[in-house]
């Protein structure tokens, strides 16, 4: 691996900056993600920071079923994100479509939409409806270890 790539990976593992993308969710996962930033869980102390642009992101936290309207936007956001970029599917909807898998506006699941742009995308799945904040932290920590 080139030096720059190693540096990027080290940066990602040390302090992952995350960009949150809602592709058609009920808010539960989104609220639980925000919970991570509040004093009880406080993930900023382990370096996780929410950023306002995908270009600064090491990871995309994706919630929602990937609606027909959101699909091209999600793909564009993935393209814009600086690589390497980890796609984190948060919640049952992002993993499989969940309870909405047969809804008329369903255009996912998220991993299919992302793989259409990049077949080698690194994707992790955090199931749950919604996953508890502890589960999210554990999943991200585990993923960073394995990277």
């Amino acid at each position: 691996m080139a030096v720059l790539d190693k540096l990027k990976l080290w940066g990602l593992k040390k302090a992952p900056w995350v960009y949150h993308v809602n592709t058609g969710a009920c808010n539960n996962c989104d609220i639980e993600i925000l919970e991570l930033l509040t004093p009880r869980f406080d993930v900023e102390r382990i370096g996780i920071l929410l950023v306002p642009s995908p270009r600064h992101a090491d990871a995309l936290l994706v919630t929602g079923i990937c609606t027909k309207q959101a699909r091209p936007r999600l793909q564009e956001i993935y393209r814009q994100a600086s690589k390497p970029c980890l796609v984190v599917c948060v919640g049952a909807c992002a993993c499989t479509g969940g309870i909405f898998h047969d809804a008329w506006h369903f255009a996912g699941p998220v991993d299919e939409a992302v793989r259409e742009v990049d077949p080698d995308a690194a994707i992790i799945y955090i199931p749950g409806c919604p996953p508890k904040p502890e589960a999210m932290i554990a999943a991200v920590a585990k993923a960073l270890q394995d990277l």
Binding site: T67, K68, Q69, D102, W104, H105
Partner: protein, 150 residues
């Protein structure tokens, strides 16, 4: 003296006049009034302005040979929900819009256009509201044909 449920229902009946082709009251505080579609705007206006009810929402459905709209009005003072029902044959999905008279209906009429394929004649802004930009025109997910194919 504050109006009670019975006097409110009676007042509503008087306001609706001859328009209703059907009137049902399955519970004391629920009234279902069926009118011809041409009478819908005036009845809706009367419910909103004269009766003083609040426009809550509307339900558009495919009921087989016809398309149906039920406008739901809530008269909060006595907890009454008055439902105004109208139908149109599927082959003629045009209904007069009540939005010019009841502004609160603007979005829900647009939604019913998208999902049920109704056309609200006279609607001030009949653009697509809820389906994706690339959703095919003319495909209405709440139509029975769509459900049966899906």
């Amino acid at each position: 003296m504050a109006e009670d449920l019975e006097s409110a229902v009676q007042r509503l009946k008087d306001l609706m006049g001859d328009a209703p082709v059907d009137w049902s009251r399955p519970r004391p505080n629920r009234v279902y009034i069926t009118v011809g579609k041409e009478d819908a705007p005036e009845c809706a206006r009367a419910l909103f302005e004269d009766f003083g009810a609040r426009f809550a929402t509307a339900t558009g459905s495919d009921v087989g040979e016809e398309l149906e709209v039920v406008y739901h009005f809530a008269y909060d003072a006595v907890g009454l929900v008055a439902n105004l029902r109208l139908r149109t044959p599927k082959g003629d999905p045009v209904m007069p819009s009540i939005t010019p008279l009841v502004p609160a209906a603007e979005w829900i009429e647009r939604e019913m256009q998208d999902l049920v394929g109704l056309v609200f004649d006279g609607h001030p802004d009949p653009r697509r509201l809820i389906l994706a930009d690339d959703w095919p025109e003319g495909v209405c997910p709440l139509r029975r044909e769509y459900r049966d194919d899906a």
